[in-house]
Amino acid sequence: MTTTQYRVIGSRPVRHDGADKVTGKAIYTADMKLPGMLSGFVLRSPHAHAKILSIDTSEAEAMPGVHAVVTGADFPNVEDKIADLGEGSVNLAYLSTNCMAQKKVLYRGHAVAAVAATDVHIAEEAAAKIKVEYEVLDSVTWVLDAMQDDAPLLHENLLTDSLGKKAETPSNIPVHMHFEKGDVAAGFAEADVIIEREFKTATVHQGYIEPHAVVADYNEDGRLRIWTATQGSFTCRQQTAEVLQIPLGNVLVTPCEIGGGFGGKITVYLEPTAALLSKKSGRPVRITMTRADVFEASGPTPGSYMRIKLGAKNDGTIVAGEAWLAYDAGAYPGGMIGPGCMCVFSCYDIEHAVVDGYDVCLNKPKTSAYRAPGATQVAFAVEQLVDELAEKLDMCALEIREKNAVKEGARRVDGPVYPPIGLEQCLDALKQSEHWNTPLEGPHRGRGIAAGFWFGCGLKSSAACTVNSDGTINLLEGSTDIGGSRTSIAMQLAEVLGLEAEDINPQVGDTDTAGYTDVTGGSRVTFATGMAAYEAGRDLQQQMKTLAAELWDCSAEEITVNEDGSFSGNGNQLGFKELASQLFAAGEHLVGRATVSPECPTNGFGAHIADVEVDPETGKVTILRYTTIQDAGKAIHPSYVEGQLQGGTVQGIGWALNEEYFFNDDDTMANADFLDYRVPTMLDVPMIETIIVETGNPDHPYGVRGVGETPIVPPPAALANAIYNATNTRMTELPMSPPKLWKAMQSDPSAD
């Protein structure tokens, strides 16, 4: 545990963007208005899978008020080049045709044309006049069906890559992954108890409140300016430039305030289309998605099929694990199977393990990252099997986890050996918690626990701090702020300089002003951009030491930066602000800057406790109490850490109990709205209690670990375990919605 006393870190200052957001003054993309701006409307495929035989836009183009129409023919041909998006990579040909279909539509909602007009109603009316002739093809939306030899084929030339070897005949499976450690057959031979089960999870969506929106202004000189809701302005710039085949430096992306992303606002959907409409019309163009567009045509997270086997000895040691995972990629290759494979056994030190994973294309929107992408599915499966092993071995669910929890030195099935990590400490905090030590009584009630893991990545971040004449700081960074990161980054700079959080004015820069910064994703911003701010502060201190030496007539080596941020040397001592003011008065302008690129994952572990009551007549689950415990390394702003734990947990609860893409017989989505796509309301969740564990991350100056993603991982498993303890019914399918749970309780003869 860290014991260092900090002044700013660990306190809870008011967030810098708070006033703007609570008063409605913050500028979101849909608020943007430029002179002469047109409204865009995207015409989308009504079919889940079809060939485009022809598109006739003439009638739409002739409509008064219409300024431009674009189709796939307006997009440049891009090659199968792989572009790195930070948290994942993308094939540009796929990215381009996902923005605008060329020869085929691969899912309902796939863009086929777009119109820019003087208002959105004219644009919509014009879009309705575009004649698209389709040849409807058979479609497939269940992952196992899509893997069959006779399944409708989405991509004619897609050959499975299996450990570097290409298959000879095309299929819907772009990748087969395989990880192995130890001797799995020997491991299972050693086991006294073996449990194997199949699990299924439905496609779910991030459900951010703000639909995707963009404003594009393509200037006569070839300069393209974009305002957008994105998790990464630099990746947005890169994707847009590559899809349009224009020089990167010609594109300026200004990130507006963002109403949630959770991984779903990294890929570009509207930007290239808006840019082409603007280029054709010579006017700025704004496009906003409807909620139905968001569900049908952005990037949900994979549905999955999993078959997992665990073996344990009588003393509770889990000795062998085997996992066979098939995840939806959606319409294009590149789903979340990789992290799924790496996370499946990430919480337990299992000597012998093997994992096979399949990325599978099918007629749903291309999947995207969603908060610990791929990890929630496998945790739902493995954490239930661990409970079952415990039950068979007559052990407590906590005891078996304590016995097998990974610690420093354990090797994960995909290779990495853990540095110091905090799962044991989380389980210990769980054991000590008031919640765990309060018995749960009453009929139809049950308690469940589950652990969870997410890597947390480093990647590239930059920060620059300009010192004002009064010693306050303007901090410029490039991480779009989706969780209060401006403040948590500013606090780290304030800490190193001996200032207050309010002395720092943090600003998220655009791609012309901020230094290169990777996406806001992978739970990386407070860790990596915070580190950049810390280093920028150190850079500033170095410069100030040199200048103070001149002021105080001594050598820079004689100047000391004290713990409170003050400078002393040659009998002088000044606080940061005083020294900065004197230097400014002496004609010195100070700018500190830093770029960092930490490569180490920050390894965020958590453990959750859920108490539920199940209505035996309807299968409806009421969550009575819920506690989320997580190792934050060091919580910079505890309120935001708590907010992340609560927010992630609530999303996990939604995934567990009600959220799912519901498909009609023709594989179109039946519930593309917030009425029937059921995210939890405030009446559906109790106050989520949180316990922050701080083990300190040795790879960060203040010990920060990423926290944003891990909390979504355990809830479905913790709730499934609680439901089992309440009803004696094992739920192996998500969501555990009332009709499904009721049905399972009917058919389970052992149920109460």
Binding site: A670, L675, D676, R678, T681, L683, P739, W742
Partner: protein
């Protein structure tokens, strides 16, 4: 436009036919217009008409509820909410309080959703619709008012003026309950309204059960209702009535629930609403 009398509305409807749409709370109409589910040349606001926006209760005739009276006005009225428990239950769960301050019981009926929360309660309470049209006024039992999803018995040029709900005696009680997967922001997977009248000896003298969201229109469960008459209230009796009610349910399997689950819920909710209705009758 906003006419000030029923006859004016009738003449506007006569002039514009189906291209005129009536607006009370607008909580369904505006959404439907915006989503292109309905089209209108003329929107006629009926809230300037006294008999449409007011209500009165007397012990002989019962409740006369103007078609545009809002949900809030019903459940916030101490006497009405006590006498018409089922209607109070319904009006408290239609949307949030902002919606309830606009949405009307009459509008809920005219919208004719199979899952409308107020309609099973009105049927259970044996309510009658008062309809005005080119040929004057006539009445129709609420149980016959809805004719299909989004379709009602109003002829061209007609409007719903008010809903008459019979007077309630001291030994009457009613209740409505719906099942939804969440606790808010959902449409009934199944909704059931029940009304009972108890005899001196505590047996059930009369009863009416109505079902929502299990057929193209809300249903009066005649056989299930009749099965209760003359019997002492008991869990077994209510369960048996639930079984009878299930027989008339013909629900669909869709995003809100499977056919099997919905049919099962009919039994559960019949039992639960009868239990509450009898309790209310006993405690009045």
């Amino acid at each position: 436009m906003a006419p000030e009398s029923v006859s004016e509305v009738v003449s506007v409807l006569g002039e514009h036919g189906d291209r005129a749409k009536l607006l009370a709370g607008a909580t369904d109409l505006l959404v439907q217009l915006r989503e292109g589910l309905r089209e209108a040349d003329v929107v006629v606001d009926i809230k300037k008409i006294d008999e449409v926006t007011s209500y009165k209760y007397c012990e002989e005739d019962g409740l006369s509820l103007g078609a545009a009276v809002t949900c809030c006005e019903v459940y916030e009225h101490p006497l009405l909410s006590r006498l018409y428990g089922a209607l109070a239950d319904s009006t408290q769960i239609i949307g949030g309080w902002q919606i309830q301050s606009r949405a009307s019981v009459g509008g809920n009926l005219c919208n004719a959703s199979p899952a409308a929360d107020a309609v099973p309660s009105l049927i259970a309470l044996n309510a009658t619709a008062v309809i005005a049209g080119p040929n004057g006024e006539h009445t129709l039992a609420v149980q016959d008012f809805c004719t299909g999803p989004g379709k009602n018995a109003l002829e061209s040029g007609e409007l719903l003026v008010s809903i008459q709900v019979p007077a309630q005696c001291d030994n009457c009680g009613s209740a409505y309950e719906r099942f939804i997967p969440r606790n808010e922001m959902d449409i009934a997977v199944v909704g059931v309204g029940s009304w009972v009248k108890l005899a001196e000896d505590g047996t059930i003298a009369d009863a009416r059960i109505a079902l929502g969201a299990v057929a193209a229109t809300p249903l009066f469960a005649e056989e299930a209702s009749a099965s209760l008459i003359g019997k002492q209230p008991s869990e077994e009796l209510f369960a048996a009535a639930g079984e009878l009610a299930k027989q008339i349910a013909t629900p669909l399997s869709d995003k809100r629930g499977t056919k099997e689950f919905r049919t099962h819920l009919v039994g559960v909710l019949v039992k639960r609403t009868l239990t509450v209705a009898v309790e209310r009758a006993q405690n009045k």
